[in-house]
């Protein structure tokens, strides 16, 4: 089973060999409302943890998505250009936003696991 971690900014990070997939959680997509556009990052760019990587435009507002871990963008989910609504229908699988190469895997240890994230959401 692939390891999945969560941030307080309602992103998920899924470990797949040396790479991670990043997206927003189902909770976050419900908060945003219908997603109409995603400003994807350029492939090859390096981001440090906490830096703005992408922007999700929903009918309600524009929301910045920050790097949950430091690394280099190696792929973006091009399907989102034509079907941004995948974020609403399948936020935690097919709605992944970018794929990152990371060197320091210990970064993932600081993030929440599924049960920790669930309690974080219900407490807030």
């Amino acid at each position: 089973m692939k390891q999945i971690k969560f941030t307080k900014e309602h992103e998920w990070v899924k470990l797949d060999n040396e790479h991670v997939y990043v997206g927003i959680t189902d909770f976050a997509q419900k908060q945003l409302g219908d997603v109409v556009f995603i400003q994807l990052p350029d492939i090859g760019l390096d981001f440090k943890i906490g830096e703005e990587v992408a922007v999700i435009e929903s009918v309600k507002a524009a929301s910045e998505i920050y790097a949950p871990v430091s690394g280099r963008i190696i792929e973006v989910n091009e399907i989102l250009n034509d079907s941004p609504d995948i974020i609403n229908s399948d936020a935690e699988e097919n709605g992944w936003i970018w794929k990152m190469a990371i060197s320091d895997f210990s970064q993932l240890d600081n993030l929440m696991d599924k049960s920790e994230y669930s309690s974080f959401v219900s407490e807030n």
Partner: protein, 368 residues
């Protein structure tokens, strides 16, 4: 962050929650942003079939007493004295400088003039009436009534099952009717550009009526997300966002609400300033822009000309699901508006080009 002060709810709050509404705060009310279907589908369905909106947050008032019409006539640029029975007019309340204090719908009824004003401006409008209207005129807030809006090409077909009279009424006209033993008032109007109706109905009957309406498969619930999208597509202003006390009706492209005779006679508040503004031309004007990118300009985005000079600002914007493109409205200096049609809109420090488009972005389908 949680706010401590209480937020108002309409009588349909629980109803909205049962139907899966996600709420947002608007003018101190908790209103449904969207239901399970989401804003995009709700916006599309509204132009294809029919949608029902709870707009009970808006202020409903009744002005009665001696000379109610001629008293109100002094406060607005529209001709209220000649307003026929069961006819409505869209108008604005202005300050001395010609700035817009509120936009409102005024309807002549048997028992007086009824008004629908913006939720956020309710208290201010009442203050103005108390100050400016003669003491013989009484202004009553109709707290006991909810306001329901049914919009879309099938709204007539849906509503005629309840109210046969509606087939006879045209856009901006209304009629008294009865539902389940209570009096209701129906006007053929709305905020979407579609054919539609607004129904003022006693609070204790509104939930049953809503349940009954949505039992009909052609009727869908729509929230404030869709309401905002639809009114932008229709090129209609939102008070507090597109118009405010610093903007005149001339600048906002609402000059049509002004009676020529009243302007010549300088017989309403703000008329002197407006007359001069018409003579010399307004410094800025409201324009619509359609973008090539899907990025959404929102309130406060700056507009530049192709020489990178800031020439205006965006007041409302959205992704239009019915046009499949981003649109916005805003104000640019009048000289620029005449000169060219391509402008740059700044969103998140990047420039996106857009073209001036005549509003409404989607043609109105009023039954005139």
């Amino acid at each position: 962050m949680k706010k401590e002060e209480p937020t108002n709810k309409t009588k349909l709050f629980d109803f909205h929650a049962v139907y899966g509404a996600r709420f947002i705060e608007f003018a101190d009310y908790l209103v449904p942003l969207a239901y399970g279907t989401g804003t995009i589908k709700e916006s599309i369905v509204s132009r294809q079939s029919a949608s029902v909106f709870d707009v009970s947050h808006m202020g409903q008032m009744l002005i009665t007493g001696d000379n109610a019409s001629s008293e109100l006539d002094k406060l607005v640029p529209s001709n209220i004295n000649s307003l026929e029975l069961n006819k409505s007019c869209y108008s604005v309340l202005l300050n001395q400088d010609g700035g817009i204090i509120d936009d409102l719908i005024i309807t002549k009824k048997i028992n007086g003039l009824s008004l629908v004003v913006n939720a956020a401006q309710k208290a201010q409008v009442i203050d103005i009436f108390n100050e400016k209207l003669s003491s013989k005129v009484i202004c009553k807030v109709l707290d006991n009534n909810s306001l329901i809006s049914i919009q879309g090409p099938k709204s007539n077909e849906v509503l005629e099952k309840y109210f046969k009279e509606i087939n006879k009424i045209k856009f901006m006209r209304g009629c008294e009717s009865e539902l389940d033993g209570v009096n209701v008032y129906i006007s053929r109007s709305g905020y979407t550009g579609e054919d539609g109706f607004e129904i003022s109905i006693p609070n204790n009957k509104v939930e049953n009526f809503m349940e009954s309406l949505i039992d009909n498969s052609t009727v869908n619930l729509a929230g404030f997300g869709a309401r905002d999208v639809l009114r932008i597509e229709a090129g209609l202003c939102l008070y507090g966002q597109d118009i405010n006390t610093n903007i005149s009706p001339i600048e906002a492209g609402l000059g049509w609400v002004i009676s020529k005779k009243k302007l010549n006679d300088l017989s309403f508040i703000g008329s002197t300033v407006l007359k001069n503004q018409i003579k010399s031309g307004p410094k800025m004007r409201r324009i619509g822009i359609a973008l090539n990118d899907k990025v959404i300009p929102r309130n406060g985005s700056n507009i530049f000309n192709l020489k990178n000079k800031k020439v205006g600002f965006v007041t409302s914007g959205c992704f239009s699901p019915n046009l499949s493109r981003s649109i916005c409205m805003g104000f640019i200096s009048s000289s620029e508006a005449l000169d060219q049609e391509i402008f740059l809109v700044e969103v998140r420090n990047k420039m996106f080009d857009g073209k001036i488009v005549k509003m409404p972005f989607i043609p109105h389908k009023y039954k005139k």
